[in-house]
């Protein structure tokens, strides 16, 4: 047991595997961003007129929800590193709850667009809009499921060895969740803000 405790509190490094995945995923999104901006340059008026149909207030609300959720998850991760898994569980559930608002707003936004007759086939801007936000939403759902799983697991850790393994999973899950937040920073700026007026 002392050896395990020492391992948990020793200097540490985030798991390289999840960082490799994040690097690859972010690289893929950078290519999507580039293609979007190049296509935009060819049809400026269409893209700007379409961007003005988006409600930036919904994008802003989702940004604040993801930022706040990321903060709560980071606090939960810090509590986990310090061995306070009860606090980790509370903070992960808090992060999960706040983050759930993102899906509600995104669902409302998609429904409003579809009821206004705007779909992915409406024009090129909205093809990108639905594709980029859809792929991001998939990441979000994977991240949210992971947060829920980690919150459930936090209450079932019984041995110090379990705790070490759990904290490694917690590090990876939290990193993935922060990546979801990071990607949204650029999607919000590119889709909602630069064509806002």
């Amino acid at each position: 047991m002392p050896a395990v405790e020492t391992d948990l509190h020793a200097g540490w490094q985030k798991p390289p595997g999840i960082w490799m995945f994040i690097a690859f995923d972010c690289g893929s999104f950078a290519l999507f961003f580039m293609v979007f901006m190049v296509q935009r340059a060819a049809q400026l008026s269409l893209y700007d007129a379409s961007a003005r149909l988006l409600d930036f207030r919904l994008g802003l609300a989702n940004t604040l929800l993801l930022i706040t959720s990321s903060w709560l998850v980071a606090l939960g991760n810090a509590a986990g590193r310090q061995g306070d898994l009860a606090r980790t569980r509370q903070l992960l559930w808090a992060g999960f709850s706040v983050a759930s608002g993102f899906a509600v707003i995104k669902g409302f936004e998609y429904a409003a667009k579809l009821s206004a007759g705007i779909t992915a086939a409406t024009n090129e801007f909205f093809t990108f809009y639905f594709a980029l936000t859809g792929v991001h939403l998939l990441h979000y759902l994977i991240g949210l499921t992971t947060l829920g799983y980690l919150a459930l697991r936090a209450g079932r850790i019984t041995t110090p060895l379990d705790r070490v393994a759990y904290v490694r999973w917690l590090d990876g899950g939290a990193l993935f969740w922060h990546m979801v937040d990071l990607l949204w920073v650029y999607l919000f700026a590119m889709l909602y803000l630069i064509g806002a007026r």
Binding site: R40, L64, V185, L193
Partner: protein
């Protein structure tokens, strides 16, 4: 390497909320679009760096990945800004 302290995490969160508000203000109320988009993308890069450093604790990541991610955050902002600005100057 120690994990960021709760106070540091809370400071990062407050900074993110504050500069998100500034970027929305720039998007809505700055009369010169190029200046507005410059501000929006500069703030996006700063937000990316705060998330990387404050929440993801990039300082504890392998050095190569850390350099790549910092480069990614900055390169995406520059690329989007350049792709916005170049067509304006060509027309």
């Amino acid at each position: 390497m120690s994990f960021p302290r709760p106070n540091g995490l809370t400071a990062a969160w407050l900074a993110l909320v504050l500069i998100t508000g500034i970027s929305v203000y720039a998007a809505e109320f700055t009369p010169w679009r190029l200046v507005a988009v410059g501000a929006i993308m500069t703030i996006a890069a700063i937000k990316g760096l705060i998330i990387l450093w404050g929440f993801m604790d990039a300082a504890a990541a392998p050095a190569g990945i850390r350099g790549y991610m910092i480069g990614w955050v900055i390169a995406c902002a520059i690329m989007i800004l350049a792709a916005y600005a170049i067509p304006i100057h060509l027309t």
